[in-house]
Symmetry: C2
Subunit: 406 residues, 2 copies
């Protein structure tokens, strides 16, 4: 019997009526002859409500206890969905993270899954039960409750699908699938039918919000076929799977845009060994994640170093750089939030030449200056002024003819 | 180091401010040099809110899932209390029922505790941590979440105290202790300083609401010294402990009153073997708990059988009796809610004679008719018309001079 894992986010289970809709959707798949496992998030707003309660006590609540607190959110949802399915005449059983168990490390608030034993779930499936698993939460080796951080329920769903070798993992969300770019930016954005894990991973890393990086990583590692689709209609979604010959043949699959980064430029630095190491070690020690890095040699044994970090970390990043300024005697340290990173992604880039040139000249034609460039085998990113962000996305979408299906 | 277990009910942890009060109370005991374990209920109203959510889905929610749902209530409280204590600079750690674990049978909604392994808690205590345990909940042998039913948190506290061989188990509630009778009925009611487990058990069974029967049973079995006291002041409470020579010497310790029972009378029944067995087996099969039973032989080979059951079960009880009427051909089956059971309790009754006579004549003097009588070694209960209930309590309180301490 085929096994399907379905994941529904907080909006899809936001009230009892929506939970009933989810139950009907799950039931209809069950009636079609599938074994069903459902992963759900906390009801929309509940996690924030609980965090705010804790923050009223102290701005920095104990991390172990915060996970104990917020994990009640999904526990409520799994029970309500199981009660609904049972009341419809189906046999259902809920699992909290520790009951599966979803075994994680002990990094409270951002735990990583390292094991999902399948025995208990297989027993319940064999008895015809629909399994409802609390997403976002797990348990460490010492029976402490953990949570997985943002997008955790997606990761839970993929991990459960991997453990059970599910035939399909459907991620239900509030959009119809993965688009060639953000439909809010251009009406020409087109839903992609099928996309490779590698491309999806770059898209998630580069600002597409539809799937979280860790979930895609997990799916890629365990070859779990993922479908992203809407919980509010029956439209076909986007299949995320292994690269195959029947995939669309374009060199570029999608354009993404991220305006949530900031740039720090350290100019007029002495050009001697160990400077870059000193700067980026200091940032890493403070858990500031650096994205792009550029170093230009300039005249007179001086050099400029620029790098991007999350916008929220700009103040911290500047403070760290200024704190160690004495080691490299910079002429200037500047921060800038007014940037956007526009990227094109596609497995086809590996075999097509001239993709980069086409991107740069398209931006140049519109007078958009490129401040930084970063490339990988399957993506090219350019940092530009933020005011040009949407224009750049529309131009690139047109130039690479992403509105046209092959 | 002395070990104290403290239990706080839903009202005592009803909001963040009250949780902070509880934290201060716990901390001050810790500062006095005690090891501390705290058992808490869900915040007032939370359990009802969750049950109502489930009942909106279906009037009869799946019992396993209902326990998953409502157990989130205490989980929120333990996390918030631990966060509060940590923010005050104490080391605290919360335990859900499954983390202790509080091992129970699988009777969802009314589970019985059968084991509380102490190893994990002892490790945390040895490291100086204040332990916060979620009351009311446990886990069965198959890792299903269970709840203990009404008064469950009291039972959790006593079970944890028994497991850890605590020096004291303090039950904080909204009254100052155990009274000679309900202070709402007579201003002469007096707080009892020290009372024996057996007396407390009878009082709990006979309608005193201050402690739940199971908790007292557990305390008696494992000889856990219990103190009942107010969470809103520092008054000394009532110590519930083993009978000792320094206890007050009165024949009668307290008067209780229960108006939540109903009486069924089956009159004119054929007086032949097996009739009572048939009736009470049928009631037991439907989980109707019978309290007092009286059978009077009457003329012509006929008999009357009267018994009391919880008021809420009256409809069900009548239905059951009428359903099997053909077996005993009664002349009449009547239900009556208009009754009260007034009881006097005291270990001293074992050695004093004339207590029953004193009770009956006191009631007779006021013209109160006794409809049923039931006795044990340490209590006498009379069923009377409900309108006389408070009068009877006041008379008995006076006659046995319960307002006077020895």
């Amino acid at each position: 019997m085929p096994l399907i894992v379905q994941k529904f986010g907080g909006t899809s289970v936001g009230d009892l009526e929506r939970i009933a809709n989810v139950a009907r959707r799950v039931a209809s798949r069950k009636e079609q002859g599938n074994d069903m496992v459902v992963v759900v998030s906390a009801m929309a707003g509940e996690t924030d409500r609980l965090i705010n309660l804790a923050k009223k006590i102290t701005p920095a609540p104990n991390e172990r206890e915060l996970d104990v607190l917020v994990s009640t959110g999904e526990q409520v949802t799994v029970a309500l969905l199981a009660i609904t399915l049972e009341s419809m005449g189906y046999r259902a059983v809920s699992y909290c993270g520790w009951q599966v168990p979803i075994v994680t490390d002990d990094a409270y608030g951002a735990a990583r899954i390292y094991d999902v034993p399948k025995e208990a779930m297989e027993r319940d499936l064999a008895e015809g039960r629909i399994i409802i698993v609390a997403g976002f939460q797990g348990v460490d080796g010492k029976r402490n409750i953990t949570t997985l951080g943002r997008g955790g329920s997606d990761t839970s769903a993929v991990a459960v699908a991997a453990a059970l070798k599910a035939d399909l993992c459907e991620i239900f969300t509030d959009v119809d699938g993965v688009y060639t770019t953000d439909p809010h930016i251009t009406g020409k954005a087109r839903k992609i039918g099928k996309i490779a894990y590698e491309e999806m991973l770059e898209m998630a890393s580069l600002g597409a919000k539809v799937l979280y990086i860790r979930a895609v990583e997990f799916a890629m590692r365990y070859k779990v076929p993922l479908v992203v689709r809407s919980s509010f209609n029956d439209h076909e979604g986007t299949l995320v799977t292994e690269e195959s010959s029947d995939m669309e043949k374009e060199s570029v699959r999608a354009v993404t845009c991220n305006t949530k980064e900031a740039k720090i430029t350290i100019s007029g630095v002495e050009d001697k060994p160990g400077v870059a190491s000193r700067i980026f070690s200091a940032l890493a020690d403070s858990h500031v994640v650096v994205d792009m890095i550029i170093q230009n040699s300039s005249a007179e044994g001086k050099t400029d170093i620029s790098f991007t970090i999350p916008e929220a970390d700009l103040g911290k990043g500047l403070e760290i750089c200024r704190g160690i300024e004495e080691y490299f005697q910079a002429e200037n340290i500047n921060g800038c939030e007014d940037i956007a990173k526009v990227s094109i992604i596609g497995l086809g880039m590996r075999s097509y030449s001239g993709v980069a040139a086409k991107m740069f000249s398209a931006l140049a034609r519109e007078g958009i200056n490129i401040e930084m460039i970063s490339t990988s085998e399957i993506k090219i990113s350019c940092v530009i002024r933020q005011k040009y962000a949407e224009l750049a996305v529309r131009i690139l979408h047109d130039v690479f003819e992403l509105d046209k299906a092959t």
